[in-house]
Amino acid sequence: MQKIKTIDLVKRYKNLTAVDKLNLEIYHGELFSLLGVNGAGKTTTIKMLTCITKPSDGDAFVDGHSIVNEPEKVKQLIGVSPQETAVAPNLSVRENLELICGIHSFSKERTKAQIKELSKQFTLESVLNRKAGKLSGGYKRRVSIAMALISEPEILFLDEPTLGLDVIARHELWDEIRSLKGKTTIILTTHYMEEAEALSDRIGIMKDGKLLATGTVEELKENTGTTDFESAFLSVVKEGTK
């Protein structure tokens, strides 16, 4: 079942075309990674799909709802963890989670149950009463993802979720993300090839605002005649440059 479909999606900033006629389909329950170097248009794509910014042209449908004409309906379906850690620093972890529950008009009972479940899932129990601004980078990222998930979104957007994290924190977060697969449709942006390879069901490779290739890791390797994913990525990107 199709969860996201973009049709000739374009975003222009003055003379720069950040996303150029993007046509993409993402299916229910899959983890789809947008992979590309800095400036490829990954974050701009996420910003359009999450209704933060309006497309200059084209449209996208999130669970059948247009991001141009029905942004309020789209916002009810999604959870977003932005690239930078987006937590309220002077609020405790619990209060940060309560904030999102309140914004989604959850009852007290539902809020309590959600916080209990997510703090267990993301091992946040020990830091629930600590100020979010005082936590380590890894914990802040976990809180950020838990905040994105607490509204039980059908679609979760993770923009560079492990950026700036050390190896251990990164692998721990990968485990958390893997545990979500199948239940929630996840769109993840990354410029780490090993991250895309380790987590994704399918990968879309972007460069200069264009989607150059999509497929599973095996499909991308096969189509480029390479034996490892890094070579496949380089081959796609170099071919796209020609």
């Binding site: 309006k54 916002k75 959870g79 987006a86 937590v87 309220a88 620093p89 904030l99 309140g102 914004i103």
Partner: protein, 243 residues
Amino acid sequence: MRMLTFAKRNLKEILRDPINLIFGLGFPLILLLLLSAIQANIPVNLFEIDTLTPGITVFGLSFITLFSATLVAKDRESALLQRLYTTPLTGFDFILGYMLPLLPVAVGQTVVCYLFAIPLGLTVSINIFYAIIGIVPMVIFNIALGLLCGSILGVKQVGSICGALLTNLSAWLSGVWFDLKLVEGFLEELAGVLPFVHAVETEKALFSGNYELAFGHILPILLYSVFITVASVFFFLRQMKKQ
């Protein structure tokens, strides 16, 4: 409900920042104490507690602008707003959510200033209550100005513009520290155009029971409040769209 949840978060962010408490509450009280001590040794009409306190309450509001602007600018820079823009919160929820929690904080600051001045010799009468009510339009002006600055400036710029420029404007062009007639000419005329001196005169007039005089001074403040509120809503929504 959504807006109140957001407003509650903003109130917590403001009250949990020790710098806010030190500047917002501590500084005006220290000034009251210090200037009263000077007045005790070198009597100056301007620093008599009944004249000084209404002026200090208005000066203290410039810190409310700083809090409001810093909170909005920090949220914009930290990507928290970006996250919240993807939730069902509307532009109206954001604007009210930022403005509402500062209203009790600012009025509370005024109440504390008047209460603190009582042991220093402030005349106690019902007029204190009227002066507290009368400061509300200036409170709205200061909060809206903060929202406006936070929508167009970064955290560092907010510190310079609201922290330094505005507090100085509010201090020097309000007639709290010296009689503006002493700087007759351009500065006196400029002070008359800006709302600060009118706010101080409104407070003084209400405190002394001269309601007619207060009415004359409150009108320009109301006009400024409406204008700055409309401008702040416009610029906040504009930066929201720009995201």
